[in-house]
């Protein structure tokens, strides 16, 4: 661009730094201050008080339950995500956009409502409540309900990360592999998977972060039985409402670290795909 036009299509330094200042202030107050606050309170009484938190059996059991729920929910949604992305991304069929909207549906439903739908299905007053009680199976106010609620709220994450990648990649490479005699599984593992692995990784990490952090839906189905059906976010609520701020923020700090790790992976994945994109151009 000619030098004479440069001032005309950019702002004066004063305006520029004012806009940067307002943005940084906004992000600082709304993102950095809360993040800093979590660690400041968690370590407010020293490292020893922080570590003592993790001796409490209820806190430990909440960590175990959260890990268990994520360990079941994430693989379930991984299989679903890959299957849905394959079906939707690689084929044209009637009702495809409706199916995409349905996969997205759990995003737009309030987590509390999501939890309630499971109570209405499996709770003592629910559709299957009588049958479940007769067969001595407890889902609501027990671990299965927590796992189901977690699956519901993290349902679309992996599918949504994979879908754009799978459909953008097209079918040429897979068709070539099949023509050369590879079978379906070989094609998937040797051709498709390497192409989408970064999106898949990010989808899994994001799904996991949300699974471990889910509060509203799990809160409705958990029944809050201490040491039994409290997950980490529910344990944070219990401790916080008990005015046990250091333990509450200590547990919160673990989830905050998980969130930060998720952001690091996201940045790395975006950086990698930018490099790959530049490489192919």
């Amino acid at each position: 661009m000619p030098a004479s036009l440069a001032p005309a299509i950019s702002e004066s330094p004063l305006v520029k730094w004012l806009l940067i200042g307002v943005s940084v202030l906004f992000l600082g107050v709304f993102l950095l201050v809360p993040l800093g606050c979590i660690f400041a309170v968690a370590f407010g009484h020293g490292v020893l008080a922080y570590l003592t938190t993790f001796r409490d059996p209820d806190t430990l059991s909440s960590i175990r339950l959260t890990l268990l729920a994520a360990l079941i929910a994430v693989p379930c949604n991984l299989v679903f995500g890959v299957a849905a992305a394959w079906a939707i991304g690689k084929f044209e069929f009637f009702g495809k956009s409706l199916l995409i909207s349905l996969v997205d549906l759990p995003f737009s439903i309030s987590p509390v409502v999501a939890g309630l739908t499971y109570v209405l299905l499996f709770g003592s007053h629910g559709w299957f409540g009588g049958w479940l009680a007769a067969h001595n199976v407890q889902i609501i106010f027990a671990v299965p309900g927590i796992v189901l609620a977690t699956i519901f709220v993290t349902f679309p994450f992996i599918a949504r990360e994979l879908l754009p990648m799978m459909s953008a990649q097209g079918n040429d490479e897979e068709e070539a592999a099949l023509t050369l005699g590879a079978n379906g599984w070989q094609t998937f593992f040797k051709v498709t998977l390497p192409n989408v692995k970064w999106a898949l990784l990010y989808g899994v990490i994001l799904c996991n972060a949300r699974a471990m952090g889910e509060f509203g839906a799990v809160s409705v189905v958990s029944g809050h039985i201490r040491g039994l059906t409290d997950t980490m976010p529910l344990q944070i609520e219990v401790l916080y409402n008990d005015y046990q701020f250091v333990p509450a923020f200590a547990v919160a700090s673990l989830l905050a670290l998980l969130a930060l790790a998720t952001l690091v992976v996201k940045s790395a994945v975006e950086w990698r795909s930018a490099v790959v994109e530049r490489g192919t151009k």
Partner: protein, 288 residues
């Protein structure tokens, strides 16, 4: 449909449909069936009770204000991140997604601690006579936090792809910088910004975890709609909870339809080759 040699269509579509039906559609169906058992008269009585109306009003109003703040400041942040260079820019850019990744309960207790009357920001604000925690203003703060990434992340790619020659043309025709923004840049990014606004709004209406700590939760004053459902459940008032949940579900469906329409519209208006399925864009995490 073109015959494809790629295998696995029946298997993957069948599995997708089964999983979706069992885990999402069946519970939703149960909710509507349970609601239909309540009876129209009783249903209407529950969902139009003053306490329920106050809760919807609060959830809507606070989400609207939070989304509006994000519409203005989110567009500004997107602009600053795309157009300017400054220290720690990449770090701040990555942090914009924090509200997607941070569990809502963690956000809730952190915001409450900061804005409590003895908190880091709560104390100076209280001296000015502004009380944030345990008031409606606190709910707006929480929903602004939760909705922060949406507008930034919808506007940012559009702004990156915007052809700067248009701005040069405007400048050479004598437009000032603000006039160029108003007449050239803003119309190009408006559909994306409005989509981001709608996503933030939809997220705010259903939000629970980050709000309940900071809200104070007084019926008629600071009780959001999802909390009212939880309260009714805790009182074993299943019909009450179900009826209000049905209203929330219908609102979610309406918002989802509206947002799909908006994405189609903004996809059609932006210059880049938009994917034919608007929903195929990368995900914006919501819920929590």
């Amino acid at each position: 449909m073109r015959r494809s040699i790629i295998p696995g269509f029946g298997l993957t579509l069948g599995f997708t449909l089964c999983y979706l039906s069992l885990l999402v559609l069946l519970p939703l169906a149960a909710t509507f069936v349970q609601t239909s058992k309540i009876g129209w008269h009783e249903f209407w009585h529950i969902v139009t009770a003053p306490r329920a109306l106050a809760a919807y009003g609060l959830s809507f109003g606070a989400s609207l204000i939070g989304a509006a703040i994000n519409f203005v400041l989110g567009t500004l942040v997107a602009w600053v991140l795309v157009r300017y260079q400054f220290p720690f820019k990449r770090l701040l850019d990555s942090l914009v997604d924090l509200p997607f990744a941070l569990p809502t309960a963690v956000a809730g207790i952190a915001l409450t601690t900061i804005y409590a009357p003895n908190g880091l920001l709560g104390r100076p604000l209280a001296e000015l006579g502004i009380h944030v925690a345990f008031t409606r203003l606190g709910i707006v703060v929480a929903l602004t936090f939760i909705g922060l990434p949406f507008v930034v992340r919808t506007v940012q790619p559009v702004l990156e792809d915007l052809d700067r020659e248009l701005e040069e043309a405007a400048a050479s025709l004598g437009a000032g910088r603000w006039q160029t923004f108003r007449r050239v840049v803003y119309p190009a990014i408006a559909p994306a910004a409005i989509t981001g606004f709608a996503l933030a709004f939809a997220r705010g209406v259903g939000e629970y975890g980050s709000v309940i700590f900071i809200a104070g939760n007084m019926p008629m004053r600071t009780e959001i709609a999802p909390l009212l459902i939880v309260t009714k459940l805790e009182e074993y008032d299943y019909s009450g909870a179900t009826a209000i949940a049905t209203v929330m579900l219908l609102i979610s469906f309406a918002l989802l339809l509206g947002i799909n329409g908006l994405q189609r519209w903004s996809g059609g208006r932006s210059e880049r080759d938009a994917p034919e399925e608007p929903a195929l864009r990368p995900a914006f995490g919501t819920g929590g």
